[in-house]
Subunit: 171 residues, 3 copies
């Protein structure tokens, strides 16, 4: 597993105190609620300014290929994306629902927390049945800030090679 | 997020001690196991006598419309529903399986715990493949009782506007 | 619920200290990541030598019928299975993704931890959409070892009576 997370400190522990553990689970849960709420402005707030968000097909990730479905390198780019979702991207609205699996902590260091979590996103379109939309895992680098835990990096590696229409909203 | 939970105390903390946290996760997990077990009599036991259970389409919930798919205002009504499931509701039996996401705690006060959690229910009918049945979020008000944590209120807001046949068993 | 876990000590507590709780969640999360990684050699490492792994349809489990889809009685048999997956079982490769629900602890004794957890596995085949593959619950007996928590027994009881093709990879 460790090999999946470059940058992980060798020999780092994975033990967290309970307050940090609860904050970590809360971060994951609030993120899921936020991106499913339809209030897209909440999304960038989960990241530090100097962040990285990528949505990558598993095949590309595992082969080390650079191509990503989405790739943002700052909180400003996330805000641009939110603007795009609301104002410029032509799409049929849909509901999405993230169900996040139990967190797998890889390393806890002075540099932050490296953590991985499986997820599935269920999509519901108007007048259609709910269906699996996107499944994969989050590879996260989480840091402490004055306003709590934030993502320094979130990479969503999704298994699906085919996507039912475009991925518009944040995963 | 806070706006989604009317009744939430302003400025309330969300920190739990570990024993309460484990009890909260256990409540969610036992509820899921119980409603998936087929032993419907277990279901009302998760609620206090003076409880509220609602199953509401997301559209109605977000527009503040009163219509709910199911709406029960006491433990007695939950028991009536169980009687209905077993004795009077005509339906094809099916298996259901709840997968519950990580809990998002909104407020911890003397009044109890306000918490929200995404869920997906997978249904398996005889001689059919398992498929997504219902996805949404639980909006919960949980209280301490002499017999542990119980639901004072559980509102399941589901994304699906179409439902594959009726919702018979508890979500 | 208790009735579902034969062998559970009557009156046993379910409280865990936080370090053990984190280790339990971590075990579940690492197992899911491992069996989804495609590196099948990781799988036997989650079990003690004298272990039991079964994959059983719900109908057989509930009726006490002995037939299982898979049944292994030692770590050696798990390693044989891994060899089979890689070398002898003819199958179309696919990705799988486990999303594991919150753990429901049944008993904590000197003998280990009895725990139950719902799960869903999403499968993605080349050039197909991701879809629900297998849903059910894990019935686990987890023990302390010198190298951390391991499975003494993991029984996956799945709801699906029909399976889309064979179950090749570990659930």
């Amino acid at each position: 597993m460790s090999a999946a997370l470059p940058g992980q400190a060798a020999g780092a522990g994975i033990a967290l105190d309970f307050a940090t553990y609860q904050a970590l689970v809360q971060l994951y849960a609030e993120y899921a609620c936020a991106v499913d709420s339809g209030d897209w402005d909440l999304w960038p707030g989960f990241f530090v300014d100097d962040c990285r968000y990528r949505l990558v097909p598993r095949e590309n990730h595992e082969r080390g290929l650079p191509l990503a479905t989405l790739s943002f390198e700052s909180k400003g780019m996330l805000k641009d994306r939110v603007y795009g979702i609301r104002e410029t991207l032509f799409h049929d609205p849909y509901y999405q629902r993230h169900v996040v699996s139990l967190p797998c902590v890889h390393a806890v260091t002075a540099d932050g927390i490296r953590c991985e979590t499986n997820y599935v996103v269920i999509r519901t379109r108007r007048n259609e049945l709910a269906a699996v939309y996107n499944a994969g895992r989050y590879l996260d680098w989480i840091v402490h800030t004055d306003t709590g835990l934030k993502f320094r990096e979130r990479i969503a590696v999704f298994d699906s090679e085919l996507i039912p229409n475009s991925l518009i909203y944040p995963i």
